[in-house]
Structures are given as structure tokens and as C-alpha cells.
Amino acid sequence: MSLLDGFATAAQPIYLLYALAGVFLGTAVGVLPGIGPAMTVALLMPLTYSLEPTAAFIVFAGIYYGGMYGGSTTSILLNTPGESASIVTALEGNKMARAGRGAAALATAAVGSFVAGTLATVALTFVAPTAADLAVRLGPVDYVALMVLAFLTVGALLGSSVSRGLVALTLGLFLGLVGVDAISGQQRYTLGVPVLTDGIDVVLVAVGLFAVGEALYIGSQLRKGPVHVVPITKGWRSWMSRQDWARSWKPWLRGTAIGFPIGTIPAGGADVSTFLSYASERRLAKGRSKEEFGHGAIEGVAGPESANNAAAAGVLVPLLTLGLPTSATAAIMLAAFQRYNIQPGPLLFENESALVWALIASLYVGNVMLLALNLPLVGMWVKILQVPRHYLYAGILTFAAMGAFAVNFTPADVVILVVIGVLGFFMRRYGYPVAPLVVGLILGPMFEAQLRRALSISEGDPATLVSSTFAVAVYASVLVVMGVSFWLRRRERGLEEVMAAEERAAGEPAATPADRAADKDKEMA
């Protein structure tokens, strides 16, 4: 019933227009090379500053799904793979495009994203209210346990090394400490600077890390020379043959089944799910498809792309019902909620019922719009891919500066933006993941509030933290999740080695940076 109310809201012409604007902008910005979903959401946040909450979140939902769609277009059509969530798509998709089957790759990605996005949104519709009902019964002790789980999975599992992930996480937690302590009213790490007493705004950190840090990093190592976009054949008929459909529909469904559950648990989000889907499609392939894997198999695009979008919907379950972001993009969405003084969590479905259901309904609407927009407009996306890089990054920096200034209309915020941007540059340069920092920053204050509440109820006895069955179960699952993910990571590495070996065996020009580096070594020797 509530979902129908949501549709009634989302179907009002003005909100349909907002949804269209959201998916359109999200796709356009997501197509831009170098811009992943997290940066898309962070950069476009200023757009929603002046909107009322319902309109703002409908735009946001569109941007969120649109950014995901846009990323796959980039990785299929550009020779150089980008953001991690769609990098698996690039493995087969880019080879298909170069073999003249780019239109089919784009089509299976788009239809797969639609199928997965819709099915996963249906799952979200049913799972979220139930999860919220259960979450109402959780106390501070349970929240502490859940946040420890989120910290450890996001901090230790994203990125290549545990220690580097934890460095990023603790940096974020520290930035979250700066300002006046909400409970005791004492100043912490403000250095006597008035601007810092209000704390460091999450928007500044997100835009600083993702937009400024990324642009500085790309500026320092800009790829020279012309941009190569793989040409695609025009016309409806070349999109997908009957055989392409027959080979795609099972991977779509399998990708959805893998993506959604992985999205809901804090275990690395979309990255892990796309990799798992790719690995399972590769193993299940038979006959001709098996031979095509590594040279452009359509299953290798259909599966991971569906998993990616299903995971994106899955991530919304903990975000909406527990207020726990499990990816950088979700953390930025949470920041957007907080700007409107809306706290996602178990009470959200009671207190802001109309808003949540309008948001969920607009996810369905947005998916349909994306399917309708994406394929016919492919020529336009290709043009966006060819934007000269100097104007693209100058534009990103200018837009970031505007977003930062617009937070409080003070130049001091732009100073903070640049400082965070430089930090983001060094983190990228030296291989530290930035996502744990954003999650740490936003979860830190919530973690502290719950921890102190739990401990003041128990009068300082730390044993209270393991006093509930739920909390103990969560801590146990931390161990399980860690174990499973280390196993997955080993497999992922194994797969990479296999693929690198195949690539060499196939006698193709060196395609991985590692290979190129090896070639260079030979030249030097």
C-alpha cells in the first residue's frame, strides 16, 4: 500500500521531470571518464541544495542509478578501463567493442542493468520494511557491533592491503572528531580556528577526495595523445541478435542473485559482486561461449553488469533501515539525508514514510527511464566521452569549488576542500583507498554516540558490549566475513594471473600496465 502511495507521489509530472533530470545528469556525468558513481553523487549534490527533500531524493535516486549506467558505457567504449565497479565489464565488453560488437555489449549491459535494477528494487521493497521492523528492537550495544562490522569490512577489505585500508579509516574517524563534541560540548582538535568548531562537513570531504583529489592525481599523470573511442555500428538491428538474448538472460538473473545479497551485507559492495559474477559466468560457459571468454564473451558483460546494479540496490537496505553506509556512494547519500535533518534508520519508515516510498518508487521509474534513454542516446554519450580532457578536469575543479563554497558560503570551506583534495591526491598516489575515509568520517560520530550511550547505561563496564546475543552474533560474523573475503581475494588474484597469462599466450600487444612495465624493463636492460 505504501509503495502505491510512493508511486502516486513519484508519478506527479513535476517529480517525473526531476527523476528524468536525475537519471539524465547522472548518466551524462557517469559517462565522463575518470568519474565513478561516488564522484557523480558528490559532484551533483549542490544541484539539490535548493530543492525540497522529496524532490532532492528523487533526483538523487536518478543520479545514483544513472551514474552506474554511465560507467559501463565508458568501460565498454574507452580503451582504458576506469572505476572498479565496472572494470570487470571492461574485460569482455571492451574486447566485444573492438571486435565490432560494441552495440551488443552496450545493449546487454543496459537491459541487464534494467532487469537487475528492477528485480533488486522489488527485493528492496520487501526486505527493507522487514529489516526496519527488526532494527527497531536494536539497542546501542547492537549498533556498536554493527558499526564495528562496517568499519572492519569497509576499512580492511576494500583496497589492496589491510593496513592501508585501516590508515584511511582512522584518518576519516579523526576528521569526524574535529569540532565540538555533541555530548559534552567540549572542543576537540579545532586548533582554535572558528571554522573548525562546527566540524568538517562531509560534503567537503567527499568532493575534496573524489573530485579534487582525483583531478590532481590525473593531472599529475595525464595520459597524453588523442582519446580512442571504439566506434559502434548504428541502427536497432545490430543491438542484440536472438542468440545474444539467449545467451544473456541467464547471466542477468544469476548476476542479480549474486549482486543483491552481497550489496546488503557490508562486504566490499559492488566490486566483489561483479568479480564473483564474472568468475561464475566464466566457469559455467560451455562450447563457443567458453572459447570466447577472454576475447569478448557476452556473458562476461551481462552477468557483472547485472550484479553491479543489483548490488547498488542492495546497498540501500542497510542505508535506509540501519543508517549504515557500506560504500562511499552510500556514505555520501547518508550525508545528503543529514543535510535535510533526516536520519536514516529503523524509524525512517515510520517518520518519513512518504519520502522513503517516493524514493523507492522513483527507483523503479528511474530504471525504466534509463533503459529508454541509454540505447537511443548512445551517440551522445560517445560525444561526451570525447570531451577534451583539459576542459573536463578544469570543469570538475570549478564545479567542486562551487559545491564547497555553497556549503556555508565562506571561502574557508574551499580551503578545507583543497587540503582534503591534496590528502586525496597523496592517498591515490601511494595506493591508499579513499572510500574507508568517507565511511569513517560519517560513521565515526554515530559510533561514538552509540558507544557512549551503551557505556553510560552500564556505568562504564565494557562487558556490556558483548551482553546481547545479536551483538555476539555480529562479532562472530565479522570473523566469518573476514575469512571468506580473504579467500575471495586470493581467488581474484589467481584469476588475474590466469588472465594475464592467457593474454601473453594469445600474443596480444601488452595490455596490462604490469606487462608494459615489464616491457620497459626489457628495453632498459
Binding site: G34, S161, V167, Q221, V414, M499
Partner: protein
């Protein structure tokens, strides 16, 4: 996390300096925690508890990262569509962009947002190699005023138009 892993193969100086810097920050966090006023009313857990936990965690993580670099585990720099991993880092570009931001920040108050933004865009485009420079300046100015018109004039975001354009109604938030 990328499938195509990139080995940074230059000297590990920065690789060591970064975690060392984080370790130094961790020490500051721990020392600074002692200076936080803890009111008697704070009860069992006051405002110092999390700072101690975070500082301690940061120190351990930074030292672990430092040790892993010393043991030869050099980090992979992040990949990306427009990143050429084989190029040497151009520190000059980074410094120039940061300097441009500083100039932009200083100019917002006297010149207003659109002109300060035009300076930032044009300078950044030049730094990224835009040619001819005159065209980049024209495009930068145009984009700055489009942003001002759309966001201040259209969406009501209060970007200051500056003394020169004080009287132009569509540039006002």
C-alpha cells in the same frame, strides 16, 4: 581495487613519508586527547575515549603500513581511464593547481564568484595543456557565468556576483 595492477616503481621515499606522516598525526591525536576538557558531568565515558581509540588505531595502522613498505610491498597507485601509469608524477602540475585554488579563494571576496571561478577554470585548463590559451580563457569565463546564472540566478544558491555585476539581476542568488 583494480584488476589491472600497477606497480609504482620509483624510489619509495614518498611511500615511506606518507605513513610516517600519518604516524606523526596519530601521536598528535593521542597527545591532543589529553588536552580535551573532560567535564565531571561526562560520566563513565567522556569526550576523550574515542580520540584515544582512534589515535591508537591510527598509530598501529600507520606503523603496519610503514613496515609493509619496508618489506618491499610497494603500493599500487590507482588506475583510471585518463591515467598513464608509466608516466612520472608531475609535481609541478599538482603545485600549480593548488596555487590556482589559493588564488581563486583570495579572489572570491574582491571580484565575486564568477570572475574567481573563471580564473580557476582558465588556469586549470592551461595547466592541463589547453591550446590555444585565448580560447580556453573565453570558454572558462563563459562557463563561470553559466554556472553563476544557473545556480545563483536559477536555483537560488547565494554565490556573490561581485562588485562589477552587483546590478545584474539574473546573477543574483
Amino acid at each position: 581495487m583494480s584488476i589491472l595492477r600497477t606497480q609504482v616503481r620509483d624510489l619509495p621515499a614518498g611511500q615511506l613519508v606518507f605513513p610516517a606522516g600519518v604516524a606523526a598525526l596519530a601521536v598528535y591525536v593521542l597527545l591532543g586527547a589529553a588536552d580535551i576538557v573532560e567535564p565531571i558531568s561526562a560520566g563513565a565515558v567522556g569526550p576523550r575515549v574515542l580520540p584515544y581509540l582512534v589515535g591508537g588505531g591510527m598509530l598501529v595502522a600507520a606503523l603496519a603500513a610503514l613496515v609493509s613498505v619496508l618489506r618491499g610491498d610497494l603500493a599500487e597507485a590507482e588506475g583510471g581511464e585518463d591515467v598513464d601509469p608509466d608516466r612520472h608524477t608531475s609535481w609541478l602540475t599538482v603545485a600549480a593547481l593548488v596555487a590556482l585554488f589559493a588564488l581563486h579563494i583570495v579572489l572570491i571576496a574582491p571580484l565575486g564568484w564568477p570572475l574567481a571561478a573563471a580564473v580557476l577554470f582558465t588556469g586549470a585548463a592551461w595547466t592541463f595543456g589547453a591550446k590555444p590559451r585565448g580560447r580556453a580563457a573565453v570558454i572558462g569565463t563563459a562557463i563561470a557565468f553559466v554556472l553563476q546564472t544557473v545556480f545563483a540566478g536559477g536555483l537560488g544558491v547565494s554565490l556573490p556576483p561581485g562588485p562589477l555585476f552587483e546590478g545584474v539581476p539574473f546573477l543574483h542568488g
